[in-house]
């Protein structure tokens, strides 16, 4: 099978396909929003290489993401694509895109702020919040509470 768009702009098409793969733990984010797709390369001979980087060394979602990417590529005629693990430079919350930050906030997760700053409550936007735990429901989140509206919320950690 040959996808028509491959000849027009195969790399652009692949980025488009990857941006439809959700993060399994925060499904409002795609893996492109999360900044874990490091490269998409197409060679003149038709080879395709996709570089993925893990967020945290122990993130259990890493393998699920790999499988989802594989399925998405297989379904669109890229069964021959090679998935590479890229460790350097290490992922940090800086890789999260602006679109990704906005999606997080709308979903009720405070986007990352530096450790010295205080995340705003995603519900009422107050800065009168306190950290309950540096560890939340997934490796990438910490747990907080808003003192203004009383809402407990997750914050996407800054690392």
């Amino acid at each position: 099978m040959t996808h028509p768009a491959r000849h027009a702009g195969p790399e652009a098409h692949l980025w488009h396909l990857l941006s439809a793969v959700p993060d399994p733990e925060i499904p409002v984010l795609s893996i492109v929003d999360l900044g874990i797709v490091r490269h998409v390369r197409c060679s003149a001979e038709g080879g395709v290489s996709i570089g993925l980087t893990p967020t945290y060394s122990g993130c259990p979602a890493t393998e699920v993401i790999r499988d989802s990417v594989r399925r998405q590529l297989d379904a669109h005629g890229y069964a021959h694509a090679v998935l590479e693990e890229v460790l350097s430079p290490p992922w940090s919350s800086e890789w999260l895109t602006a679109a990704g930050r906005a999606k997080l906030a709308r979903f009720g997760i405070a986007p990352p702020v530096p450790p010295t700053a205080v995340p705003a409550c995603p519900r009422c936007h107050s800065r009168a919040t306190e950290r309950l735990s540096e560890f939340g429901s997934t490796p990438c989140k910490s747990h907080h509470r808003c003192r203004a509206c009383g809402e407990p919320f997750d914050h996407f950690k800054c690392i």
């Binding site: 060394s57 122990g58 350097s88 290490p90 735990s133 540096e134 560890f135 939340g136």
Partner: protein
């Protein structure tokens, strides 16, 4: 010992220390004093197991005899494990776990910073990634050390006793052998003695904050990285390895 052999052994030491500590922390799941700490210890466990996977996979590839991360984790016996003896010490009470964690976090802060400039690019990448995680591990363990040390007379006395008990395992952190020296000569690993001043300064600063007393240096009879372990490692491995050994090749 050939240089490739030394590198495999060096990676096994790093990987085994992370794996064994990750398994120990995992034992807390469902048992920690509060839900937040249960999640915190489980998060740390995940990081260590993740680091172990990266290191053991690399060791297996360099070894070249077809052993992958699972074969190395599940099909070796205690004397073949090369983790620091400190990492295998039992969880004890929450204070024992925190002291063990804090001693290893302060050590890994120095070690991973040094390894992130290793001439081995793959190891340098693993170390740079792990260093980011180690920073919040240390915030967690030093934060609890201060709360327990500077808490009630009961918590202070108990965490000081944990420190006295575990301190004897810190000698191994800075005692180089032929493998460490071969790695330092190749620019792959740091000179262990060179890490001690910064480690020691951080230890003293954290202890001061926690109002705890630094124990006197003690000789250490265990050489975990050469496979000479305390009795606790075999028990840990029995639990960790039971399933893959009983049902070889089992898949979820």
């Amino acid at each position: 010992m050939s240089a490739p052999d030394a590198r495999v052994r060096y990676l096994l030491r790093l990987g085994d220390t992370s794996l064994v500590l990750g398994q120990r922390l995992g034992e807390w799941v469902g048992h920690a004093p509060a839900l937040e700490e249960d999640l915190g210890l489980a998060n740390l466990a995940l990081d260590f197991v993740g680091q172990a996977r990266l290191l053991l996979s690399y060791a297996g590839e360099l070894e070249g005899s077809g052993r992958d991360e699972d074969a190395l984790a599940f099909l070796r016996d205690a004397h073949e494990f090369a983790n620091l003896a400190l990492a295998e010490q039992p969880n004890g009470d929450f204070g024992d776990t925190i002291v063990r964690q804090w001693l290893i976090d302060t050590w890994q802060l120095q070690l991973y910073a040094a390894l992130s400039t290793s001439t081995d690019e793959r190891l340098a990448a693993i170390a740079a990634k792990s260093l980011k995680e180690t920073r919040y591990h240390h915030r967690f363990s030093s934060g609890w050390l201060a709360r327990l040390g500077d808490g009630t007379p009961e918590s202070h006395a108990r965490v000081q006793a944990s420190l006295e008990n575990l301190w004897r395992f810190t000698g191994e952190l800075f005692a180089p052998d032929a493998v460490d020296e071969a790695m330092a000569a190749a620019g792959i690993g740091p000179q262990l003695a060179g890490l001690e001043p910064a480690w020691s300064a951080l230890i003293d600063a954290d202890l001061k904050e926690a109002t705890l007393r630094r124990p006197a240096p003690q000789p250490f009879p265990w050489h975990g990285k050469r496979g000479v372990h305390t009795e606790h490692l075999s028990h840990l491995l029995a639990e960790m390895q039971q399933l893959p050994r009983s049902l070889p090749g089992a898949r979820w």
